[in-house]
Amino acid sequence: MYIIITGCGRIGSDLADRLSGEGNDVVIIDRDSGNFSRLGSGTNCMTVTGMPIDEDILKEAGIEKADALLAVTDDDNTNIMTTQIAQHLYHVPFVIARTADPEKQRALTKMNLKTVCSATLMVESMLSALKKGGTDS
């Protein structure tokens, strides 16, 4: 698969390491080229420096042929805009946005935008761990 990742922080760099390790073609975009040093030494992926909401940058990253786009910068709105450009203007088959705000996530779900929210995930896994612990004791 040809996969574009936006944001090379802890999440983006880990995703890039793993996905390229599985043999995918991975391109990672970050506005700060210094962040690419987070990538694993064995990771073989293309890097593009620039704002992911800039169509020219997305084109440079090969959005026209991408199979998937994962928007995982630390800015919710940047991720939301990036995924919508990918979905509605370039018809990328699979897109997903990282969000921090659960309420925004609910709103986006209504707009048919696929999102992952760290706070929601954290709460869910805490609750399920608690329930498990509860039945064990």
């Binding site: 909401i53 709105n77 805009m81 450009i85 509605h88 203007l89 705000d101 309420e103 609910r106 709103a107």
Partner: protein, 227 residues
């Protein structure tokens, strides 16, 4: 009208000032607290409510009174924030009209495709024309509904065009075309014979589609005011 403005920078500030003078009810959201205090002390009145917060946050929009808002205008300095504010307003709160500023002109197409009603790229122009923009949309819709072929259109005078550096009295517009205003920077000039057109001016023309196309074919701005 109830108008919500997202972003209290220079554009948001002057927009609030001019729209409230027209007795619109303004709700403005700005993130920076000291900026909020300044807006409230400079412009504070019964017509203006200032909320300190993130205009792309659902709870903040609710608190600022987004329900029953007629128009949302997003004018922060970040395109992504303006887009999300417009989309939340429309999709979560049923706001009927959304207007956004974009910094990157390429985002005009993106925003239109993603459902923002009016997209404006020039910081300088927004404060002066936004109120009229609303009315133009209505006027053109009204004319279209009545099967009338007369429209209001904007025409940009391009550098090197035959209209550059010409006085209106020397240009001689064909009958049936009326030049209503010339928008230059943040000014709106009521034209007279001695008005001289310059590159970058936007002429607001009233006339039939054919006459406007025939006269200003090469000069027409691609995006029309409204359909």
């Amino acid at each position: 009208m109830r108008i919500m403005i997202i972003g209290g920078g220079n554009v948001g500030y002057y927009l609030t000032k001019s729209l409230s003078a027209d007795r619109h009810r303004i709700m403005i959201i700005e993130e920076d607290r000291s900026r909020c205090e300044q807006i409230a002390s400079d412009l504070g009145s019964g017509h203006i409510e200032v909320t300190c917060g993130d205009g792309t946050d659902v709870a903040c929009l609710r608190e600022a009174g987004i329900f029953n808002t007629d128009v949302l205008v997003a004018v922060t300095g970040h395109d992504q924030n303006n887009l999300v504010a417009c989309q939340l307003a429309r999709n979560c709160f049923g706001v009927k009209q959304t207007i956004s500023r974009v910094k990157n002109p390429k985002n005009i197409r993106v925003f239109e495709k993603l459902g923002v009603d009016s997209v404006i790229s020039s910081t300088e122009r927004i404060a002066g024309i936004i109120d009229r923009e609303l009315d133009w949309t209505d006027v053109n819709r009204l004319l279209k509904d009545r099967s009338c072929n007369v429209r209001l259109r904007k025409v940009t005078v391009m550098p090197g065009s035959v209209y550059e550096h010409r006085f209106l009295k020397d240009i001689g517009l064909p009958g049936g075309l009326i030049l209503i205003a010339v928008l230059r920077g943040d000014q709106a000039i009521i034209p007279s014979g001695s008005t001289c057109l310059e590159a970058g001016d936007i002429a607001v023309i009233w006339g039939s589609e054919e006459d406007i196309n025939g006269t200003f074919g090469e000069n027409r701005e691609k995006k029309e005011i409204a359909e």
